[in-house]
Symmetry: C2
DNA sequence: CGAACACTCACGGCGCGTCAGAGTAC
DNA sequence: CGTACTCTGACGCGCCGTGAGTGTTC
């Protein structure tokens, strides 16, 4: 049976010697010792160390790792599930921070911090439950789970709508039944569908959100300002973008 | 000019008294004092505090916040950009951890940790640069930036391909030129396009990856095993799924 | 005997929470 | 005079990095 002293073992497992000392003191991985109290690690220790590192990679605190590795595997499974939720929450937080910075970077410089504060408070203040009740709220949560909102997605969606608005504004004087208008109405419906997934409950929620636009919080109103041009909305209505 | 003592000010700004003490000691926010050394905050202090909280929300360490708020705004902009990158890296790490847990949860129980380790090492070992060189690598990075890979996306893609494979396997005895086969071939092309974005360089990379399947690392091979059924691939080739 | 290892304390860093002990406002 | 504030100081947490001072192996 091959044995390793700390340094060799540390290199083998790609951790630091200090970390091994630490795990030893915490009782996570206690190797046997020589007469001079030198630590001696075996291949079995390597297995356990890999498990420790794996759980650590998932952000589980060392103290808990000890109990998990010595406890029943069902406890482990539970811990993993709860840890996954924690990580998902953390990730969503990070996404919000990233979004705040990206929004701030669009500003022409001076009031960068104000912009960040706006985005932060916006994210907290907006109470969507007013619009999405019961069924629709559940579906919205499900969609969020299947397809989490990222700042990159947000940027993509903003670009799509901005572009569409620009093109609609360019043909406001034409016939809403015309070929071009109909094509844009189709694109409009597609963008809405991209959000609702074709779900009528969610579509209803979107309509309620828009109908209540007078009561949006000021910062959200400002954010949405480019998309509230009534002439564009009316033109699209006449082109049938809101039907079905 | 209205003045507040700690508790009132803390409630006003939704932070704890202890935090205000802390910022004071760090020199981040030093209010004036009464004769008895009671802290007295003003509305101007509130502004600064909001900025502190905003930067903190972005994960910037308090020490750095002090310098940023007192320094030039250009330094601030730089710091924000670099912080955004750091957050994006962190988020990607979190996504990898989440993915590892989700993969592990699919296993029927016993070797959960082994599965996590596999996914971890897989993510590290796979050197895609072998397949995507120059132009294609840049485009791949760009796509990752515009549309970051999330575990949810991964699951969606896996579901799509699994479903498609199942349906193809069900009609292996039919005519590849038939209506059903053609429909499936179209779906196949769509799934590939969803990854390549229709870019020929990326498509070339995908083909190279597949062509080199004999040399994939074992864990990746195992992961991909359900999608290596040669009869399905051949049937799709005859149905024209690989053309154009 | 010297070089390269090994050992065991112990401090530090982040952002406060959480006492403890003592003074102040009304 | 009591009560509700306020102050300062110090420990703790999680995961080690980074010494310092000392013993062991070859």
């Amino acid at each position: 049976v091959k044995q390793y002293r700390v340094q060799a073992f540390a290199q083998l497992a790609a951790v630091t010697v200090r970390a091994l000392h630490h795990y030893d003191r915490l009782g996570l991985l206690k190797p046997c010792r020589t007469d001079a109290r030198y630590r001696l690690y075996t291949d079995r220790d390597l297995e356990r160390l890999e498990q420790i590192v794996a759980l650590q990679f998932l952000g589980i605190p060392l103290k808990q790792i000890g109990k998990l590795l010595d406890g029943r595997p069902t406890r482990l499974a539970e811990a993993l599930a709860s840890q996954r939720h924690a990580l998902e929450r953390k990730r969503d937080l990070l996404n919000r921070a990233i979004l705040a910075i990206r929004e701030a970077e669009k500003q022409p410089e001076p009031a960068v911090l104000k912009r960040i504060i706006e985005v932060m408070t916006m994210q907290n203040n907006m109470d969507w439950s007013k619009y999405y009740t019961g069924e629709a709220a559940a579906k919205l949560a499900e969609r969020q789970k299947q397809n989490p909102w990222t700042p990159e997605l947000q940027e993509q969606v903003t670009r799509d709508w901005t572009e569409l608005y620009r093109e609609v504004e360019a043909i406001l004087d034409q016939n809403p039944a015309g070929e071009k208008a109909q094509a844009l109405a189709a694109r409009w419906r597609k963008l809405v569908d991209a959000f609702t997934g074709g779900d009528p409950d969610l579509y209803d929620g979107v309509r309620k959100v828009y109908a209540d636009r007078a009561n949006w919080p000021p910062d959200f109103q400002q954010q949405m300002a480019p998309f509230r041009n009534p002439r564009v909305v009316d033109f699209m209505r006449r082109a049938g973008a809101f039907e079905r």
